[in-house]
Amino acid sequence: MSKKVLMKGNEVIAEAAIQAGCRAFFGYPITPQNEVPEYMSAHIEKRGGVFVQAESEVAAINMCYGASATGARVMTSSSSPGMALKQEGISYMSGADLPVFMVNVSRCGPGLGGILPAQGDYFMATKGGGNGDYRTPVFAPAYIQEASDLVFHAFDVSEKYRTPVLMLVDGMLGQMMEPVEIKPRPPIAVDKSWVTDGNTDKRAPNVVNSLSLLGDVLERQNIERFKKYAEIEKNEVMVENTVRDGDTVAIVAYGVPARIAQNAVEELAEEGIPAGIIRPITLWPFPYDVFQNLPPSVRHILVIELSMGQMIEDVKLGVNGKYPVHFYGRCGGVVFEPVEIADKVREIVKGGAK
């Protein structure tokens, strides 16, 4: 018998986090992620965890910093302007090598923008919105089942590499309902000898810190941290690639827009225009290599985003001049229809597209 239940994306993420062993959730209200803290406030304490509604997103991420420093699995969630406020804490946690699982149920911007879905936070998520040299693994599920599975994986990645990790979903995935089976698994075993949990009767004092006043020492720490990032780039890239030999167009999309693109691909196939989809699941590390290993039939790359074009910069780095890279985007909370994407592909194959 299937264990599938019908649940809202935001609630699935929260429930999966509890089942993944999340001990503490610190958050602040902002639409369209409110179901995450609401679900946590109702459930996590009954199952041995801690919920605090912080006074701000800034405080929430710093509560994560403190709780994570003791070795606990911790989580925060927010939406775009709130994530902007968390960047200070993300930079500090990266500099202090602290794990945390974060979710951005993103909306449209800049500024207060609006509450409709968008993908304008790609730069903030993948290029680092905080100060200094650091990277953040970013997971971008397109399905609620995938979001659930990735919660367990993301916690493991954050603890294995001692780094903040981010799940970037748009408001659509957070708000929609789909059948899902939450599949718990035990957390990976990691070394926690570094934690500051106040047990100095058993060991020497530990320090959690991102400060380093000597240039050569800090440089060495940054170089060491980038060895960790190189390991992540080597081991943790996730991408779904449906481009087959015979496809002339590869559409690149992440999250729910990849599902809209799938409808366009089916419509185009009926007309004899073969196209496939490259769907990055990790936005950092980005699947650059996939663009150098496409079938010989591919002539064009089309990037579609719910933004003015952000991921396209990484696609161009991956393509490295091998194919023309086209773009179609909507923003402000406007979501493209499959026909818009199909029309763009038709325009490209006719040779009229810029």
């Binding site: 503490a24 929430a60 509560m63 910093y65 500090y92 949990d197 106040g198 009767d201 320090v207």
Partner: protein, 251 residues
């Protein structure tokens, strides 16, 4: 002939030499905190939260676990620690730039939630670490590097009275302002700090001790004159005493 130890450095402090300026009060306040942790036998289960400011390196000095927090965020970090480790002792050690300016939201809401943590608030009326700039606590007409003609009430307001403000919050269990400018006051400060930790051990809620402190380098005066400044200039505006003691105990 056997020698008798009549004074020794508290084992609540590590052997690391202090990085503080001559005449600075941080060393004295560190000692009072360290002695309190040892006397209450809680040192081994204590987690110290260091701020941004002169005491940013506090984790190098206290002989317990330490976490360095972002500027002003120590009460939020302390909240995160204490919520998942409620049986541990958690204190933040913060200056007035950190606590009374950039960290006002975090300190007010830590008190507001009644977080069972202790805050050591070191008020020297100036930003020391960054070179002596004006703080919310800088006295009227006091000259600093960003108030070179003196602090003016019309543009900068009156110095912020943090203890008085936090005492109005129901979540605050114990708030006292003390000074360390002479021996008698150091003894009183020690009693206040120890009491704050005792109340945390008893899960009584938010406790804070504001310590009036000297910054001779930042103020541009001699260490001796800086003690007189605390007594003659700061104490009249920042009256010492217990501002809140909801447990009804004696300070």
């Amino acid at each position: 002939m056997a020698t008798k130890v009549i004074y020794e450095k508290s084992r609540g402090l590590q052997d690391t030499p202090f990085t503080y300026c001559p005449g600075c009060s941080h060393g004295t306040i560190h000692k009072l905190v360290a002695e309190s942790l040892v006397e209450l036998d809680i040192l081994e289960r204590t987690i110290a939260i260091a701020p941004v400011g002169c005491s940013v390196l506090a984790y190098s000095f206290f002989n317990c676990d330490g976490i360095q927090a972002a500027h002003g965020r120590a009460p939020a970090v302390a909240t995160g620690v204490k919520r998942v480790q409620p049986e541990k002792i958690v204190f933040s050690y913060q200056g007035d730039g950190d606590l009374a300016s950039i960290g006002t939201a975090e300190i007010i809401h830590a008190a507001h939630r009644g977080e069972n943590i202790t805050v050591i608030f070191v008020n020297n009326a100036i930003y020391g670490m960054t070179g002596g700039q004006m703080a919310p606590t800088t006295l009227i007409n006091q000259k600093t590097s960003t108030s070179p003609y003196g602090r003016f009430e019309e543009t900068a307001g009156k110095p912020l009275l943090v203890s008085e403000m936090l005492a109005t919050i129901p979540g605050s269990a114990y708030i006292e302002r003390v000074s360390v400018h002479d021996h008698a006051h150091i003894l009183k400060a020690k009693r206040a700090i120890k009491k704050a930790f005792e109340l945390q051990v008893a899960n009584k809620g938010f406790t804070m001790v504001e310590v009036l402190a000297a910054c001779p380098i930042g103020w541009g005066v001699s260490p001796v004159d800086s003690m007189a400044f605390v007594k003659d200039e700061m104490m009249p505006y920042y009256p010492l005493g217990v501002y809140c003691d909801r447990e009804g105990g004696k300070a």
